[in-house]
Amino acid sequence: MAKEIKTKRPLVSLLSTEFIERIVEEAKDVLEKTGVWVENKEGLELLGNGGAQIDRGKEKAFIPRRLVEEALKSVPSSITLYDRNGNPHMKLEGNNCYFDPGTSAPKVWDSDLNVIREPLTQDHINYTKVVDALDNIDQISAAIIPTDIPKEIGGQYRVFLCLRYCTKSIFGGTFHKDGLQVEKELLVAIRGSEKAAREKPMLIIGACPSPPLKWSDLTCHDLIMGAQNWIPPILISMPLTGSTAPITIGGSLVQHTAESLSGVVIGQLANRGSPIIWGGSPAAFDMRFGTTPMGAIETMMIDMAYNEIGKYLKIPTEAFIGLSDAKRPDSQAGLESGIGAILAVLAGINIITGAGMLNFETTQSLEKLVIDNEICGMARRLVQGITPRGERLAEDLFTEGLYEGKHFLLSPTTMKWFREEFFYSGPAISREDDQAWMEKGATTAEQRAKEEVKRILATHEPEPLDKDVDRELVRIMTKDAEKYGMSKLPLP
């Protein structure tokens, strides 16, 4: 019997422990000496009661080390998310990796008209159905902001659409202080009770500090309410090197850590022991165009590094990585998303947010989702690593009488492993010979992805919601829309 060898999970690391410790120490210094701006009354009160020094006039809190250390002790290192049916489907801990689409795009790529345009409700419904059908996209995000509804309800309306057409857990958010209350009602309708909704969380929400070092009224409100209601907030700190954060990667990491730590403190003060996710969307600010490239290698380096810091602090992580700044799903989109997804899994980022996204996090594309689904499949396979299989690794080289002694196609070991050992990509990725490719129209990946989107929209039927639950969701959403002057939702 051969000795059992464990499969190695490939991992890359950019920071030494010494470097991480220095970043965290400096971030604690920032919180103590520079402080953070908190434009939210409840937040300031929580921090003040907890022992931070408050400057009410300036809406500033100076957070002592002790508060940070206490918060780090109570914050959970593992979060389980559940799907719409109440089954556990994501365990955010260790180096587990899950993919979800880039979220909150104000625009969509329209592949029929070849333009970037404003999205409508139908775009979000189509998007939701496509994500529901894609195997390697684990979670759905509220990815598109429809423009045919009042702005104030945008956040909850997207969560509502995700719940109706997809069973996956949701990365959502709000644009208005009433939003999270509505989202909570939607979740209670799905689970049946407030208690059940807390016990089986299926929504995580973005809580984005404004760089540098500021919690706006809305995001701080969502952070507190999310913590209180077991709707895990994702801290999305977004330092932009040299524009809203120090120019160097190290300096930006200190700012990211300080902002995120202040979020952890507020969350733990609001509800000790509540889950929180160490996320982010930094960018290596482009000094030529004034843009925030998500496909820049330094952006990805910051993502990987802050993820390491999150792991060091034992908090589940997330990053906006695996997306692209291309304006349509072209070669640039493929290469930037491919590099990002591969680096993200090698870093062991728990939630990898990026699929489908183009144009600096502003434009979703269904075709890109289909292509990225295959990228995610390859990335996932990479970190499954190389498993020693069988008593003898090359059993077939010791076996006499293989088929005509020449190939392994009919060997039992081939039959046993040929599916499991490999990830078979397609239809966006072509691995046919040139002749077969030409016979099918000599298409590009983008064209094949478009065909696949059409196929999914024509054939994929998402699991339907219970009729009564669905009616309740529509009732909740309509009531909310009425507050802003819309009496009928623009649903098909």
């Binding site: 005509e404 020449k406 190939h407 196609l409 009919l410 081939t414 039959m415 040929f418 599916r419 078979y424 397609g426 046919e432 010979d433 040139d434 002749q435 077969a436």
Partner: protein, 212 residues
């Protein structure tokens, strides 16, 4: 499920043992070999072929089904009329002289068998006169040649010329495949067709024989 249906399902299910066992049982029960071939075995392989084209079944699975078919054919061959055996056609396959890259050629051979062709595989490094000799001996319908190297691709024309010299070029169709081949090259050297991949080669063989 009746016996014919079970045999068909076992072909699709790649279960050689079961196919052989059921075929034997069917013959014992007095079911005609022709009926078994056309109403169970071939329809089973047709399903496998379709699923292969759709990327549902992969190469090893398709070859396993072909193996199961081969098992049944060993029982049927002594019984079937000679005309039935090679109804689809006889194919001489080989990798040309100087070339040893034959995995594609082997897959094509097995798939052709699965499609009902009688296949004689001459293996690798096959000189032109050996192709000619076998064509003559078997009265073959098709010669299928493969080459991987661009240098050995030149040998395709050697075989065609040798067939011409032997006065047999008119009786036999020539198809080529492998990395050294292309549709254009097939035209240039006067071959009857090029198969870009295994399924294309089977389609080509079927169309070449149906024209005759």
């Amino acid at each position: 499920m009746d016996l014919l249906e079970s045999i068909k399902e076992s072909i699709i299910g790649m279960d050689r043992e079961k196919v052989v066992e059921l075929t034997r049982k069917a013959l014992d029960e007095g079911i005609k070999a022709e009926k078994l071939l056309y109403e169970a075995l071939t329809p089973g392989m047709d399903v496998v072929g379709e699923e292969f084209e759709k990327n549902i079944k992969f190469i090893p699975e398709m070859l396993m089904s072909a193996e199961a078919l081969r098992g049944a054919m060993e029982l049927l061959k002594p019984i079937l009329a000679k005309s039935e055996l090679s109804k689809a056609g006889k194919v001489i396959m080989g990798t040309v002289e100087g070339d040893i890259h034959d995995i594609g050629q082997q897959i094509v051979s097995m798939m052709l068998e699965g499609a009902g062709f009688e296949v004689y595989n001459l293996g690798i490094d096959v000189p032109a006169d050996k192709f000619v000799e076998k064509v003559k001996q078997e009265k073959a319908d098709i010669v299928g040649m493969s080459a991987f190297l661009s240098t050995t691709g030149l040998r395709f024309s050697d075989v065609i010329e040798a067939l011409q010299e032997a006065g047999m070029r008119e009786q036999v169709k020539v198809m080529i495949g492998g990395a050294a081949a292309s549709g254009k090259y097939a035209e240039t050297i006067g071959a009857d067709g090029y198969g870009a991949n295994a399924s294309a080669a089977v389609r080509l063989a079927k169309s070449l024989t149906s024209k005759q």
